[in-house]
């Protein structure tokens, strides 16, 4: 049987009383295309990091290091906004 809560035990009104719980809600499965990062072409302007609606661009020490594929829904905003002269992010069919 599932480990989901029953109606008697869960909070009322659909309220979530735990902060940051969406980290556990994996939405990567919604994706059709996935962003692929070419580190050698990246200038680390961080436009992708600013604009990602799911905070799925991973940055360490001010440098883009990849994507959180557990939460990236494959919207493609990062690839679209990556400066054309760099073209450091490419959307590929995610099989």
């Amino acid at each position: 049987m599932s480990d989901l809560l029953g109606w008697k035990n869960m909070p009322i009104g659909g309220i979530i009383f735990e902060s940051g719980s969406s980290r556990r809600y994996v939405t990567g499965g919604w994706r059709t295309y996935k962003p692929v990062h070419a580190l050698e072409r990246c200038i680390h302007c961080l436009r992708c990091w600013i604009l990602c609606p799911d905070s799925a661009v991973l940055v360490e020490d001010g440098r883009v290091v990849g994507f959180d594929y557990d939460h990236c829904k494959g919207c493609g905003i990062c690839a679209r906004e990556c400066p054309p002269k760099c073209h450091a992010i490419e959307m590929q069919l995610d099989r």
């Binding site: 989901l4 809560l5 029953g6 109606w7 869960m10 009322i12 009104g13 659909g14 309220i15 979530i16 009383f17 902060s19 719980s21």
Partner: protein
Amino acid sequence: MAKRVPMTGNDAGAEALKDVNPDVAAVFPITPQTELMHQFSSYVHDGVVDTELILVESEHSAQSACFGAASAGARTVTATSSQGLLLMAEICAITAATRLPVVMPVVNRAISAPVNIGCDHSDSMFLRDAGWIQLYCENSQEVYDTVLQAFRIGEHKEVLLPVMVCLDGFIISHTMEGVELIGSEAARQFVGEYAPAFRLLDTAKPITVGPLHLTDYYFECKRQVVEAMQNARRVIGEVGHEYGRLTGREYGLIEPYRLDDAEVAIVALGSTCGTAKVAADRAREKGIRAGVLKVRSFRPFPGEEIAAALRHVGAAAVLDRSISYGLPGGPLFHEVRSFVQGGIRLVSYVYGLGGRDITPGDLQGVFADLAATLRSSESDGAYRYIGLRE
């Protein structure tokens, strides 16, 4: 000390809101509700209450503002009628499912088309499955009393649902009668300090309001509302009883009138119950043992209580001031019929749509029809109209 003051139903609603001093009110005018919030806004202007009054641009915005304010932890009110209620319907369902105990007088008015400002219950019946508690008032006194009780009922920790206090447009809202007031001090003591179940603006305890629930949790949320409505049946009685100890005016889910020995009865909502009581008195003078069963709470629906109250009655007319197209009769009739068992003959009467008058004479006619039905072996049409031209 209680004092008795001439008031319209709208005045009485505004007076009760003033006596409670809610934190937030979202206001948008619509006939025949306009005067209620107009009166209340004058209390805000005069500093009698310190309610934050939000003048919104539509009823959709009014209910949205209520949702936001109530989520933030504010005791919140609005009021509306007819098209306004339909326009806010989308948010009404969200307010209820998010378990926000907003209190909303609904001044019952017909819905378009054709355009009509008269009383009927089509507006609130449109929202009968929205998850709101619905209490119907017979007169201005009940409006005042019920608005006060609505806060206690909706905010009860085992209920946490919004409450519509339904009053008949014009018939109650614009008719002056004596109303006994308990005063702000007693009223505020009765409703108590508001302790919301959660506060969106409490940054020490961050919460998410209105998240996505797909196949995993949506169904369970709905089941919780079923339980809250079930709890409300008990709480409405408890609060009505406590209010009775305070004022001498006791309230429950239903109110029987001369029903103990009745062979025929009228079951109805709202101001028509007062008319039916007069008609019952007159019918009894003519030898018909007539009684009335007022259904005060339509949601939650007190089916068992209604069935028990009618158990000994031979024939009963269930009066609907609204209509269900494609299903003969109205909603009250069908819900009563789904509980009443045994040999009782139930007849559906749809009446008073668009404010068409209903008189004691009309209802004496209903009692006479019921008495004739009792004596006849054949069952003639169970679906009838009052005051409709062929």
